[in-house]
């Protein structure tokens, strides 16, 4: 079989763009998991919620740029409300109950979205300014994807600075390694949990906004991407920020390239990569602790 090199280059680019969505979601998952020890099954729901909020916001105001700021604030507030009312009642219990709780929330959330928006998918277009295409020799790159790539790179860098350089970031890092120590140092863990969860839900909402002009919106979009993001987090290692970034990019590119050769195996390859890495490095690529 002849493989067109130009096509490979374009697929790698598409893979990185797709990987950027995974990176955004995996960052939130891994921070919540590492800090709060919650496997957040409702993470995919917040991604869907971000997409639908953006759809409503763009159809009412017509302003995509403002949606990039307003929607994440909205999903963060909903996330923080849920943390305060439901999740915090379960801290200190077996992890099982947090899994079941977030699963129940995701189940309800999806149905509420179907009641409001109907089961059929929706779509909206990227803003005018980003509708064109960049040409590079015989290669072409849609402007929206280039924009998404740059924006997520910027956000990821911002998150890196936040986690490495700020006080809250260092508390999150410390909490991922040893929660007991953090609380015995007199830090208000309850407040940190609230902020961590809010931040993760803001990024999840934002990734929903960014993905929807590219991938469309439907009420069932949460589940498939959540399964993939769990694989990303396992590949990267629990609670590891760089793990989420590299894991997301590896998975995105692998999925795109395999899609070129053997489309029906493009998602299965993610789980094969995950199993292989698990066997070689049980903690994942950048895992910090058990």
């Amino acid at each position: 079989m002849e493989i067109n090199l130009n096509l490979v280059a374009v697929q790698i680019f598409n893979g990185i763009v797709l990987g950027m969505i995974y990176v955004m979601l995996a960052m939130g998952l891994t921070i919540v998991w590492g800090m709060m020890d919650i496997i957040n099954f409702s993470h995919g729901f917040f991604y869907t919620l971000g997409a639908y909020f953006a759809y409503t916001f763009v159809s009412v105001t017509g302003n995509f740029w403002l949606a990039l700021i307003v929607v994440p604030v909205g999903t963060a507030l909903i996330g923080m409300a849920l943390e305060r009312t439901l999740l915090r009642k379960l801290y200190g219990l077996n992890i099982l109950y947090q899994i079941l709780m977030t699963f129940g929330i995701a189940l309800m959330g999806r149905e509420i979205i179907i009641i409001i928006y109907g089961p059929i998918g929706k779509s909206f277009f990227p803003p005018r300014a980003l509708e064109g295409t960049f040409f590079l020799g015989s290669l072409f790159f849609p402007q929206y994807r280039v924009f998404l790539l740059l924006l997520v790179a910027l956000i990821t860098f911002g998150m890196y600075l936040f986690i490495e350089k700020t006080k809250l970031g260092s508390i999150i890092r410390a909490g991922t390694e040893d929660k007991e120590m953090v609380s015995s140092l007199g830090i208000n863990v309850s407040l940190v949990f609230l902020l961590t969860f809010g931040l993760a839900m803001a990024i999840a909402g934002l990734s929903g906004v960014l993905a929807s002009p590219m991938r469309g919106i439907n009420p069932f979009m949460d589940w498939n991407i959540l399964g993939i993001c769990f694989a990303v987090v396992i590949i990267g290692g629990m609670g590891s920020f760089s793990g989420a970034v590299f894991g997301g990019l590896i998975v995105g590119v692998a999925q795109s390239l395999v899609g070129l050769i053997w489309p029906s195996a493009s998602i299965i390859i993610i789980f094969i990569v995950m199993s292989a890495i698990l066997l070689i490095k049980p903690r994942g690529l950048f895992g910090v602790r058990d």
């Binding site: 998991w33 020890d37 496997i39 439901l86 009642k89 379960l90 219990l93 992890i95 099982l96 109950y97 899994i99 079941l100 709780m101 699963f103 129940g104 929330i105 995701a106 189940l107 309800m108 959330g109 999806r110 149905e111 509420i112 179907i114 009641i115 589940w223 399964g227 993939i228 769990f230 694989a231 987090v233 396992i234 629990m238 029906s264 195996a265 998602i267 299965i268 789980f271 094969i272 995950m274 199993s275 698990l278 066997l279 049980p282 058990d290």
Partner: protein, 337 residues
């Protein structure tokens, strides 16, 4: 004699209830579904309730057995027992592979792995259209007769005769699982549930025991899957999708984790409620999710837990009338421990 009676008391009660059940419910098929899911849930209860291992591979075991049983009937013209055996063997092998990978890690990491594996099996079944039929599934799988060559042959075409076959498998499985739990092996599983580090410190290989529990769970969920495809006469992609895992987890939670009888009650309620309400309102999962949240918040012991604590309270209050308040003080002190 007395000991034997005590041992099989639970089995007898279940046998009587399930003997009557198909004649009480609006239609027979509902009772068959209740019993098949009861089997899957008690198998899962052995793993979650008695070993303390959470996982989301239920659909993988269930679905693998569904497809293998269906395929062996379609392509090999397998007899009833052979078809079931092939399905269960497939689930058992899968449980061994996934279990050995999932037990590499502990706690939430392990749960996440089982979830990812479940997604992997789903996507394989979904994409491998030549074998599994993909989204359409496999249709028209005829139920082979119950037959021992040269001895007898019974057709299972009627829902009633098939129900009693399923009941036989269920009671047998219940007895085996109960015996496993009551055996020294079962005690080790409970020791691991209570404190894994301590169980390891006294010399038990916790990972091996967890893997064995995984395996037993896989075998019996596989049996449930094989019976389910014989019951439905078709194999569908939802059998291997997360929905099936979620349903089984839900029955377990609602019934009461680690109570063995509770999960059967859970299966009964979830199957009946889904049957009744999903036809009435398409958005019924909204209520299902709400029930999930409410049980996690307020009734983590499940319905069985509610029943047990209610009977205890009742006994205590009737006792206190006779003997006065000392008993309350004593029994309160006990329950606080």
């Amino acid at each position: 004699m007395k000991r034997l009676l005590k041992e099989i008391r639970g089995l007898l009660i279940l046998g009587i209830i399930f003997f009557i059940l198909p004649f009480v419910l609006p239609y027979r098929a509902l009772a068959t579904e209740v019993i098949i899911f009861s089997l899957a849930v008690i198998a899962f209860d052995l793993l979650l309730g008695f070993t303390g291992v959470m996982m989301f591979c239920q659909a993988s075991f269930f679905g693998t057995s569904v497809y293998l049983t269906a395929l062996s009937i379609i392509h090999l013209k397998a007899s009833l027992f052979l078809a079931i055996l092939i399905g269960v063997a497939g689930a058992a092998i899968l449980a061994l592979i996934l279990g050995s990978m999932a037990t590499i890690r502990k706690g939430s990491y392990s749960v996440l792995l089982t979830l990812a594996f479940n997604e992997m099996i789903y996507f394989i079944a979904y994409q491998w259209k030549g074998v599994t039929g993909g989204d359409d599934g496999l249709r028209g799988i005829a139920r082979p007769p119950l037959e021992i060559p040269g001895l007898f042959k019974v057709s299972l075409a009627s829902e009633t005769s098939f129900y009693f076959l399923v009941l036989f498998f269920f009671l047998l499985s219940f007895y085996v699982i109960k015996r496993i739990i009551d055996s020294p092996f079962g005690r080790v599983l409970m020791a691991i549930r209570e404190n894994e580090a301590r169980a390891e410190a006294i010399g038990y290989n916790a990972r091996l025991f967890k893997l064995l529990a995984f395996e037993i769970c896989g075998i019996f969920i596989g049996l449930a899957g094989a019976l389910h495809v014989l019951f439905m006469n078709f194999a569908h992609i939802t059998n291997v999708a997360f929905d099936t895992s979620g349903n089984i987890v839900m029955m377990e939670l609602i019934g009461g984790i680690g109570t063995l009888f509770g999960p059967i009650l859970g299966a009964f309620l979830v199957v009946l409620a889904s049957d009744k309400f999903s036809a009435m309102w398409a958005r019924w999962p909204l209520i299902l999710g709400g029930i999930f949240v409410l049980f996690v918040l307020f009734a983590r012991g499940g319905i069985w837990g509610i029943i047990v604590s209610a009977t205890k309270r009742f006994e205590r209050s009737s006792l206190s009338k006779k003997v006065g308040f000392h008993i309350i003080a004593v029994s309160k002190g006990e329950s606080d421990n």
